[in-house]
Structures are given as C-alpha cells and as structure tokens.
C-alpha cells in the first residue's frame, strides 16, 4: 500500500495544539511555552551535532521518533532554535503512527512527492506556531501591543514591526514567525505580513 498523507485543516491543527498545551500546561509560563521541556516530557531526546550539519538542515526528526537532531551552532539563539525544535516535535506528533512502525520507502524524506512534502511541512509548521503562540494568548498580546503602539504613532506598519519585536521577546520566538502567526490568525493581512516581515515567509 502506498503512503498517503491527508493534510489537516487549520481548526484541526489548532485543536491538536490545544491538546498538547493542555497536556503539558506545567510547561507553559505566561507567554512562554517551554518546548524543550515538552519534548523532554514526551521522552524525545534532542541531539546536537556538528560536522557541518547546518549546511543542510536547521534540524530534523529522525526515523527513530525518540530523536530530534539539531546542528549545535543553531542552538545559540533561542528565538530561532525553539521553532525548529517545535516543528520537528510536530512532525513526530503528526506522523507518530508511521514513524513508530518504520516509514515505508515512499514516505522517506527524499521519497515523498512534492505535494506530500508541501502538505506535511505546512501542517508541521502551522502546528508548531500554534503551540509556540497559543491562539488566545497571542491574539490578546498582539492586539494589546498594537493598541499601545497606536497611541504614540499612527503608522500601522511601523507599529506592526514593533509588535513583532516585542512579541519575539515575550514568546521567545523569531519576529518573522510572529508575523506569520499574526497573518494566520487574521490579525494582520497577508500584504501587511509581506510588507513588514518577509515575502519569503511560506504561506
């Protein structure tokens, strides 16, 4: 039987994020979701390696779903490192049944069709941001920040960028991904996201 991956809807992914956040609520403090703690509680080990690994990947979930491998050099900046760990954790959550039984050849990272790859990555990316930026906390924090900035400047674009930086500190997640989550939750438009964060952000 050939490998099939059915992409999940955004409400389904938000629901999975809620389940994860409820289960590991002791790992959430204020705006910070301790993803490394969640990974540890899930008995998954993060293995830092060197050997020029950073040239190829920012991190990966191994065939044995107990391991996430990361380039050691990528661990030094928490707001960039944490989303990588979160995304790999989400791959394990989303495809645990396949991984624990051994991935069939056509489901290997280099054996997927382009569409399968795109669907799998999009789901893991969305879910990882839904975990790192819990919907209600993020919405409140973003809107409060924008409102506060709006009192001193009428320049919405400038205020959006400032909120990206403020929320990067609060949530300890890269500002570009603040923009991505704000766009996903319709707090800013896709155009505002492109203009103020990056047009390289995957949709």
């Amino acid at each position: 039987m050939s490998f099939q991956y059915t992409q999940l809807s955004r409400p389904q992914l938000e629901e999975i994020a809620d389940v994860v956040l409820n289960r590991y609520s002791h790992r959430c403090s204020g705006c910070l979701v301790d993803i490394e703690g969640i990974v540890e509680d899930a008995e998954i080990e993060i293995i830092p390696r060197q050997g020029g690994l950073i040239k190829y990947v920012e991190g990966y979930a191994a065939h044995n779903p107990r391991y996430i491998i990361v380039p050691e050099v990528g661990m030094s900046y928490s707001p960039r490192y944490r989303p990588v760990v979160a995304e790999e954790f989400c791959h394990i959550v989303l495809e645990y049944d396949f991984l624990k039984c051994g991935l069939p050849l056509e489901a290997h990272a280099d054996g997927l069709t382009a569409q399968q790859h795109a669907d799998i990555e999009a789901d893991a990316r969305y879910l990882s941001l839904a975990i790192l930026f819990p919907r209600s906390k993020f919405t409140i924090a973003f809107n409060q920040c924008l409102e506060l900035r709006g009192k001193s400047s009428a320049d919405r674009d400038k205020n959006i960028r400032a909120c990206g930086e403020t929320l990067e500190n609060k949530f300890q997640v890269w500002s570009l991904l603040v923009g991505s989550r704000a766009r996903d939750l319709a707090l800013i438009t896709p155009e505002e996201c492109k203009r103020n964060f990056s047009n390289r952000l995957l949709m």
Binding site: L53, V57, E58, H91, A109, L202
Partner: protein, 69 residues
C-alpha cells in the same frame, strides 16, 4: 571518602581503573545510521532533501564532535 570497607574499596578501585582504561564509546557505537536517518527536515525555504543530501546529513551527524578529538 565513600565510606567503603577495604573489600568494597578494592572492588571500586579495580572498576574505576578498568573504566579509565576502556575505549570511550563513539556516536556510531550508540546510534545506528538507520535510526538517525532524517525522516522530516527543516531546511532553508522548506526545500525537500534528495538522496545525496540525506547521505551528506548522515555523514555530518556521524562526524565526531570536535571537542572529542
């Protein structure tokens, strides 16, 4: 210091000496290539890896850490 009696201390010293002389385990002694194989990767711009990159990743992962040299 460990409050051992002489017999236990002798055993401890013998085992400590054996441990010091033992060859340290390498990464490859602990992990197999199969289990370390990348299943899902975070790459720049979400690019999919090919078989050549997969092999390069494994080679990098099994390269001994520089601090172990």
């Amino acid at each position: 210091m460990l409050n051992f009696d002489p017999n236990k201390e002798a055993v401890f010293n013998r085992m400590l000496s054996a441990a010091k002389e033992a060859e340290p385990l390498t990464f490859a002694d602990v992990f197999s290539r199969e289990e370390m194989c990348p299943a899902r990767c975070s790459t720049a711009n979400g690019r999919q890896i090919d078989a050549i990159t997969k092999e390069a990743i494994l080679q990098a992962v099994f390269t001994p850490l520089s601090r172990d040299d």
